[in-house]
């Protein structure tokens, strides 16, 4: 078994430059993505609703969770935008609402409510796309990752491959579904439904390069204003997935929002896996041969 991967595969697995070009889109538009600035999210869930309406995503279970104001719970086949709610006894910054409350000594009334709209990250190195055996998942000219529902045979491999827990199988349908970054809207020059509906511009859509610049400025602004918890997540092209097409400004550690702190695309280890599989297969042959050689004939 040759361990030298084809050049195209090596490039697709490790290079972090231009996923659309690596996938064969010549002369493609700039890579598009989301910058979700959670510091201005008000938890209105307009994004969840807009996404459902535009993409005709079915109902995802009407349950009461007791998880703050979040009954949606997480991303899945029928939830392509998910607004997380986290209540913390912690000030968001030096806010002075102008009203003095009497607070017993030693007890803080500070409350901050973290709200964040999660979505498919449209990774530079997308594990779901790598492992899809049918070619149903593909890279668009915008550098986004989309499932072709007329090809997907519901093998389910993409689901545990995703390091973020985004894609899932739709019950009663069997196929895998996730955010398309509104591929249909993009192709006619429109903004994705969630970004369009966001009343505070917490969800910003645009060319990824521009979003990264804007996000950098935003963190600087927040840190200067005293929000020292502000940090970007998924913006770094050197991270384990080659940078996310949809990245975030967070106000706490990623795992607080249900995001992995250091995700790595599983296929990064695939060449090593094939190598070990090759050695193991050879070991099996050698073992069977040894079983016939040793101990004489019988």
């Amino acid at each position: 078994m040759s361990l030298d991967l084809p050049r195209a595969m090596r490039k697709a697995l490790y290079d972090d430059t231009d996923p659309a070009a690596v996938s064969g889109h010549e002369d493609h538009p700039p890579r598009m993505g989301f910058f979700t600035d959670t510091s201005v999210c008000i938890g209105c869930k307009a994004c969840e609703v807009a996404c459902k309406e535009w993409n005709h995503v079915p109902e995802d279970g009407l349950v009461f969770t007791g998880m703050s104001y979040d009954n949606t719970q997480g991303l899945g086949a029928d939830t392509w935008r998910h607004v997380a709610f986290i209540e913390q006894r912690k000030p968001i910054a030096r806010q002075e609402p102008g009203v003095q409350h009497d607070v017993p000594a030693g007890q803080s009334s500070d409350l901050r409510w973290l709200m964040a709209s999660d979505v498919c990250k449209h990774c530079t190195h997308a594990a779901c796309l790598d492992v899809c055996p049918t070619g149903s998942l593909f890279r668009t000219e915008f550098g986004t990752v989309v499932v072709q529902e007329d090809v997907c045979n519901g093998c389910g491999y993409c689901i545990p491959a995703c390091p973020y827990g985004v894609i899932d199988q739709r019950e009663g349908d069997g196929r895998a579904w996730k955010c398309t970054l509104c591929y249909d809207r993009l192709t006619v020059g429109m903004e994705p439904a969630c970004a369009k509906a966001c009343p505070t511009d917490s969800i910003q859509f645009g060319p990824l390069d521009e979003l990264r610049e804007r996000a950098g400025r935003r963190v600087e602004q927040l840190v200067e204003a005293g929000v020292t918890d502000a940090r970007l997540y998924g913006h770094d092209p050197d991270d384990g997935v080659g940078g996310d097409g949809a990245f975030f400004l967070l106000l706490d550690e990623p795992e607080v929002y249900g995001l992995p702190p250091d995700p790595v695309v599983t296929t990064r280890d695939l060449p090593a896996m094939w190598k070990h599989v090759g050695v193991a297969a050879a070991t099996l042959v050698a073992g069977v041969a040894a079983a016939f050689v040793g101990g004489g004939r019988r």
Binding site: K90, D173, G174, P261, A291
Partner: protein
Amino acid sequence: MSGSDVTKDGIHGARPDREATVGVNAGRAGGGGGRRRRGGAERAMVPDAQFTSYYGKPIINSPVWEAPDIPGYLFLGGLAGAGSVLAAGAELTGRPALARACKVGAFGAVSAGLVGLVHDLGKPERFLNMLRTFKPTSPMSVGSWVLAGYGPAAGVAAASAVTGLLPTIGRAATAGAAVLGPAVASYTAALISDTAVPAWHDGFREMPFVFVGSAASAAAGLGMFAAPVGENAPARRLAVLGAALELTASKRMEHRMGPVAEPYHHGRSGMMMRTAEAMTIAGSIGGLLLAGRSRVAATVSGAALLAASALTRFAIFEAGMVSADNPDYTVGPQRERLARRQPAGAAAVSAPGRHRSAADVPSNNQGA
């Protein structure tokens, strides 16, 4: 409600002041103004909320693969692949009954395994889409093509062995199945390791050896179970070799994984793993010592090895599910990785300094 439009030609109508100003009006960093302030922002005594996860929800989505289809296939594919190699060896060394038993068993196993695979698909009628493309980045795609070659070869080999027809083609098919067999028995390790499931991915170095060891002892079990006692000597030796490889590799795997290996020790999956180990040892040693003399011992040992191999795969499958459902197994190792990457001390602080220099900003929000 957003006033801007992003088109292929750029952004139109962007609001110049789209940057919201959280906290800016409220105070300047280091603000020395003598204004009355509760000071909550400045006191370091505000405890950090101790969240390590989002309400205990898993980070990754759990596989939708189901037992018995998928762990059953992991077992049956291993049995078939190693069985075909054993069959070829038996044929070459003049053990026709052992060869025939292994060929029939291998074809039966791969057929049953394929039924399970198709049954597990969300859209079973689209199973042929597996051969729509070839992707070396997808172990499932590679495996589909290997099976597409192996299945017919194993079928022809078995049919020829049973009927005695077309012996030349039968020999060629036996050789073909023996060449592809090791791939069938081992690729499934890459298949499950190439996921974000902690207990599968983190074992990617040893998993192929666990799988081929388990496959070898299963094939040996088949040989003992189904072939005459007089021809089963290679199977008895293979059982010991396979068991030794499987147990050594799985110990190494669990050791390397650290805390992520917990599902292999505890709970239902841990119990299945231990039971499988005991059965593997009993079956292989019992087979080596007794199955050459006693038909009953050969049958019992063979059955024990087959059951042990199946149980091992079900245990590994179950352990993966448990590790996927618990955010600790996903977050813990990633946190450790981050901590190792950062200089000592820096890792403890959830500072924005990871992303930009904030040295000139007083750290007024780092409770505890």
